[in-house]
Amino acid sequence: MGSTGHLSNGKLNLNLLRDYYRRELLECLDKCLGSKALVWDDALTGPFGLIAEYSLLKEHEVEKMFPLSDKGLPPSNVQNIIFVTRPKLHLMEQIAQNLLQEEHKGGFRKEYHIIFVPRKSLLCEKKLKESGVYGTLHYIEEFNLSMIPFDSDLMSMEMEGAFKECYLENDYTTMFYVAQSLMTLQFLYGIIPNIQGKGDCAKNVVDMMLRMRRELGGREPQITPQIDNLLILDRNVDLLTPLLSQLTYDGLIDEIFGINNTSVKLPPEKFVSSSQSPEDAPTEKKKIILNSSDELYGELRDKNFNAVGSLVSKKAKTITAEFDERHAAKTVSEMKHFVSKLPHLQQMRQSLSIHTSIAELIKEHTDSEEFLDSLRCQQEFINGLDTDKVNTYVEDCIGKMEPLDKVLRLICIQSYCNNGLKTKVLDYYKREIIQTYGYEHLVTLMNLEKAGLLRQSGQRHYPTIRKSLKLIVDEVNEQNPNDISYVYSGYAPLSIRLAQYHARPGWRSITEVLNLLPGPTIEEIQQIPVALRKRRSSITSSHSSVMDQKVTLVVFLGGVTFAEIAALRFLAQQDDAGAEYVVFATKVITGQSLVNSLTGVHT
């Protein structure tokens, strides 16, 4: 994780944020004098890896790292044990257990500390007190790492529970974190003048943000705003998009293999070099880091998968051609020129081989009967075909006991596109699911209904929304797209259409549709001192259009899919783009992770 250059490539230098976090973290660590061992809440290792590399921690006397577990701490002779943990009660139980065991062991005297990420919690402290270990703890710190910079235009909180907590349990804690994070961003990049949003949670966040700014009482940094617009979208404004199968390159990687903190673990077979004999093929999964520092990935990730093949082969040809230049190189200076390009070429070639393998893996999946049939079924639904009766394909999926999340996604899509299902149809599906996948899914189904993913027939808004926002586009060019609908091969994500209209011509033109979508529409303007306002460059200045491109921060409450991000990037690349986009989400999700977060009895 040495190079972080990719973070500063965007319009907004996210390295600033990363440095800010690094400083904060080191400040926390340096409070404890002497050698340290960090005990990790497993969910935090990924995000921390993107903020601070091990060598940096080592410089600050971190000598050992352990995962937090019930088994207790391995013996070590460090002076400080620091638990790095999320404020979750079950983790407190583990920590308490660890501490009690340590007390029992005796031996070398150590000091114990906790760093809460992103925030301390009263309940956790109470829990520690009840367990009788609170007194053992020396420092109880908080490290407000909430926006993990994934790429130059992408930050995620990696809080998977956000959607469930907000829409199912009315627990808006994550929204508070979001508001705090936005305050951090404003602290680093200046006050964002224009705020717009849609949805109850968006309203919640904006209210808290404005309130926090008041609380600051004018003590804010005097920076010219680097972000012009803030657009906050609730996931429940667009529950359809994440349910559909993503068809972009990174969307598919995420759907099939799961991308975690910008890295993916892939089956190793495809990555065996030809020289290796099959016997000593690695059995461990191959971990690959996916971000824009990999030039090729930067180009491929947002493409429709159908365009990936041709692009990869084109790249392969160029590279071969460039390698062949060495034959043409006659003079010393030509040779020198070639050699200077060599590292880059080699890197490209390596990256090309990786992505060829990934593409093959994906193709195996997308060519499968299951995938194609499911895609066909989805397309039928979003086009509004036969959505009002029990679908045979869905029935067959249940009959064949295909994964529950796949079945639920399809039913939810049908429900959305049919503006809710007739009681008879809905009950039939529900009964089928309970009989097939088990009675515990009675709770799952109730959750889905509560979150609005499954509904009884209601008002018929979908056809209007589909028509006025042009969600369905028949003529899709997957190779050289001219519309965002390419990311779902013919369906334009509702959420991104909203962003598109937001940039141009403005939401006022779609007031009626906005009124059909759930939750309030929000519009706020934050006053900026005159001295800090951006100066309008004169009309005569020739490159004003490039310089003037506005930066819009799009916040997705309840998660965003890679396909949606791709669509936003596509928008920014257009000639008449109204804005450059930076995405901030509570989590990068897929339909699967969304549905799974609502599944089951085990709350």
């Binding site: 508001a179 006991m401 009989q435 088990g438 009675l442």
Partner: protein, 828 residues
């Protein structure tokens, strides 16, 4: 002449000037009071002890009055504690009273009681016979001399830690005089015992010294330390004033006053001259035995300052100080200093005389020094009328300099403006420029705040452009804290007044002010004030402290800070009984949801109780469902499910009710099956149960379950086909295919055979497959060539493309064939 009031003392000059004509002249006779004035132009406290002056013994308690330096009364009170031994001021302008039992009482200048502490048990037991209040390196210290001739000392009244100094060996009677010396961060006492002096310290050490006095000494009757503690003056019983260094190592001079009685006050004027006061006569003695004599019409009191001596009388408040060097340079007759020349030049210039030019020419090279001298001299002048011509001269000289940094000039103008303002008798702080330099501007502003002169303080801050956080808002906050003490105004008025003044000024903490109001016993005012506090984190704890739990809860909810909400919720839960608590949160959805969230993780039983209380049968039912999965014993599980079923009935959730019923039924079946077949069936879904039964060749029971639970045909067909395929029961599969018409079509049979690699069986069903599915099925069993042919026969291009897409690298020939077919078709 500027030098008319200069009194020469050897080589140097002393000047006495009036700072105020006293506002108290009609009411106060200073000789009848004990007087104590704070340094740095601080307030004057007068103590009138009737019992001492009255001819008849009266038992009235003394009266204490505090005046400004200009003689304007600030406050008055009648003493109601013990017998006051000594009165004095601290460096924060608090009035200290030391009683004869060693108890120290601290009041502010408005005579509001602040705090009290003692000087230790020993002092209390044996009584204090003398006391010194002195300025120490930690602030203001107090030293008491007990009747056992021991000295107890504290170095700071803010942090009173009592220390006992060493014992003076052989001291059998009260010392004739003593003083506290503060040097090298240590306080020591110098005790006069006969002709000897004894220096005692906190470490128990003592040092006896005999100062070098040329005349015979039996006793030192008085001693006085200069403001900086470096010089010492002593008065012997023979009327000699001895002046030397405080470590007694150096003697500057001895001056014989020929007075048999010691002076009422022996003081220092700065560090340059010793002043003795006998009645209305004041003698100033320089270190070189020079002297000046002053006579007053009325009794006076002397107050030492770092750069002079204030003389407070009935009618006048005067200041005696050494004429500063720079002033001397400018105004001394015949001075040729640059400053003097510039001053002359400026005077001539304003007269319109060309002599100005001549003067400027003389000092051309030293003009910068001249300007600096004039600026500095202006600073030392107390009278604005004298400051002006000096500043004017500086400004004039500045014009001839090209790159002179104007900062010094501007600063001086600003400082003088502030000084003149605070010296005005309305405020009455006669501070000199050098004193201000030592005191610093923030402390001066604090002192204005202490006097409740908020308006002046704010104006000065604004004038000096001090940042709001340290300046104006801080003062406003003080003002607000003072405001909440005004009992005569009602809460609403005060709250509004405060908010009007403070608004949303950055750096103002409404919660601090509210806390103050609370301490003043005005909770309602505090609540109102807290309303203005934007920081919920500050607001909520205070509201809880005031037992305004409901407001605290709604404020916490408004803030969106979950942790804050929990803080209030858990507090409420502990302070109320359960019923009340539930009632309190039921109307606050956010609080309610968060509490449920807490229960979900910590106390599920409580969550159920809440749902029950709220008649939320749906959620209650869900809880029971979840519980059922946590029970181990079958009876308990079924019991929970029955409860759930009842809940769903009440919730009118027919679907859930029926499902629960069926689950109970299924569990019972599964239990029986386990017993009968000795295989695990529990926890499987209905579908899985039937599947397992089919695998186990138990078709009869499977069929029974299918009927009992009304499994739809389509699913049952998929189930059975897949199960039979999995266990490879091809005979049974065939039998099944020949039964009722398959709702899933024959292709399902082909699929399952292909899936389990039995192509031979698959072919059996292939013939029965409907024509439109044929191509697909052929591909599935690997007969791509046949598939292509069939598609060609069907004249279906789409099917051809499908076959093509399924061709691998080994099917090169077939690919060509299909391409040919496609061409052929498109040609037609």
């Amino acid at each position: 002449m500027a030098t008319a009031d200069w009194n020469p003392l050897g080589e140097i000059y002393y000047k006495k000037c009036e700072v105020y004509s006293m506002g108290w002249s009609d009411i106060v006779d200073i000789s009848k009071f004990e007087v104590s004035a704070a340094p740095y132009g601080g307030p004057i406290a007068l103590l009138k002890d009737e019992s001492k002056t009255a001819r008849v013994q009266v038992s009235t308690k003394p009266i204490i009055t505090v005046f400004t330096a200009a003689g304007k009364q600030i406050s008055q009170m009648r003493w109601n504690s013990g017998s006051i031994h000594k009165m004095g001021w601290s460096h924060t302008e608090d009035l200290l009273f030391v009683q004869d039992d060693g108890v120290v009482l601290v009041y502010d200048m408005f005579l509001t009681f602040k705090k009290t502490f003692g000087m230790g048990q020993e002092a209390k037991d044996v009584k204090v016979i003398d006391c010194k209040i002195f300025s120490s390196y930690q602030g203001t210290g107090i030293a008491v001399l007990t009747s056992t001739y021991r000295v107890f000392i504290i170095n700071s009244v803010d942090d009173p830690r009592i220390r006992r100094l060493a014992e003076v060996p052989g001291l059998s009677s009260a010392p004739s005089s003593w003083a506290v010396i503060n040097l090298d961060r240590q306080s020591r006492a110098l005790i006069a015992k006969g002709s000897e002096l004894c220096l005692i310290d906190q470490g128990g050490q003592y040092q006896v010294q005999t100062p070098d006095v040329s005349t015979e000494v039996t006793q030192f009757l008085a001693m006085s330390l200069s403001f900086n503690n470096r010089c010492l003056a002593m008065f012997t019983d023979k009327g000699v004033i001895w002046i030397g260094s405080s470590d007694l190592q150096k003697k500057y001079c001895e001056f014989n006053t020929k007075s048999p009685t010691p002076p009422q006050q022996l003081s220092w004027c700065g560090a340059g001259a010793v002043v003795g006061l006998w009645g209305n006569m004041m003698l100033v003695v320089g270190p070189d035995k020079d002297w000046i004599n002053f006579n007053f019409d009325n009794p006076v009191h002397l107050v030492e300052e770092e750069d002079g001596l204030r003389i407070i009388g009935k009618y006048q408040h005067e200041f005696l100080y050494k004429v500063p060097e720079v002033t001397e340079k400018i105004f001394k007759i015949g001075s040729m200093e640059p400053g003097a020349m510039l001053f002359e030049a400026s005077k001539e210039f304003y007269k319109g005389s060309q002599k100005a030019d001549e003067y400027i020419r003389i000092i051309k090279d030293k003009l910068e020094i001249a300007v600096s001298q004039c600026i500095e001299a202006a600073g030392h002048e107390i009278d604005p009328a004298k400051q002006k011509p000096l500043l004017r001269a500086a400004a004039f000289g500045k014009c001839f300099l090209t790159d002179y940094n104007p900062e010094a000039y501007v600063n001086m103008c600003q400082m003088l403006r502030v000084l003149n303002q605070v010296r005005n008798h309305v405020i009455g702080i006669p501070l000199t420029y050098s004193q201000l330099q030592h005191l610093s501007m923030p402390i001066l502003i604090d002192r204005l705040v202490l006097r409740k002169l908020f308006y002046y303080a704010v104006k000065i801050c604004q004038y000096l452009k001090i940042a709001d956080a340290e300046g104006a808002s801080r003062i406003l906050a003080h003002w607000a804290c003072y405001k909440v003490q005004q009992k005569n105004e009602d809460d609403e008025t005060i709250a509004r007044a405060i908010n009007q003044k403070l608004g949303d000024t950055p750096g103002i903490s409404y919660s601090d002010i509210a806390n103050h109001a609370l301490e003043e016993g005005r909770p309602d005012l505090a609540t109102r004030l807290l309303d203005f506090e934007p920081r919920a984190g500050q607001q909520v704890p205070l509201l809880m402290k005031m037992h305004k739990d409901n407001i605290a809860l709604s404020k916490a909810i408004e803030s969106g800070d979950t942790d804050l909400v929990y803080t209030v919720l858990l507090h409420l839960k502990e302070s109320m009984n359960q019923g009340e608590f539930f009632m309190a949160i039921r109307n606050m959805p956010i609080a309610y949801a968060l509490f449920i969230q807490y229960c979900r993780q910590q106390n599920r039983k409580l969550m159920e109780d809440l749902f029950y209380q709220e008649d939320n049968f749906q959620e209650e039912g869900t809880c029971k469902v979840v519980n059922s999965f946590n029970e181990d014993r079958m009876e308990d599980r079924i019991e929970e499910l029955k409860l759930a079923q009842a809940c769903f009935t009440k919730a009118k959730n027919e679907f859930a009710k029926v499902q629960t019923e069926e689950q109970i039924k299924l569990l019972k079946y599964q239990q029986r099956l386990e017993e009968e077949m000795n295989r695990p069936y529990l926890n499987l879904s209905l579908h899985q149960t039937i599947y397992r039964l089919t695998l186990a060749n138990n078709h009869k029971v499977a069929e029974q379950l299918r009927k009992e639970f009304k499994v739809p045909d389509r699913r049952f067909w998929w189930l059975k086909i897949n199960a039979l395929g999995e266990c490879g029961d091809w005979v049974e599969l065939e039998r099944f295919s020949k039964g009722k018409k398959a709702p899933v079509g024959m292709e399902a049979f082909v699929e399952v055979c292909a899936k389990h690699g039995n192509m031979k069986e698959a072919m059996k069903y292939l013939v029965k497959v409907s024509p439109e599915q044929k191509v697909k099925c052929l591909v599935k069993v690997g007969e791509r060539k046949k598939a292509a042919e069939t598609a060609f026969e069907n004249k279906n291009e789409e099917e051809l493309s499908y076959v093509l897409s399924k061709c691998g690298p080994s099917d090169k020939q077939l690919v060509d064939t299909i391409r040919g077919m496609k061409q052929q078709m498109s040609r037609r």
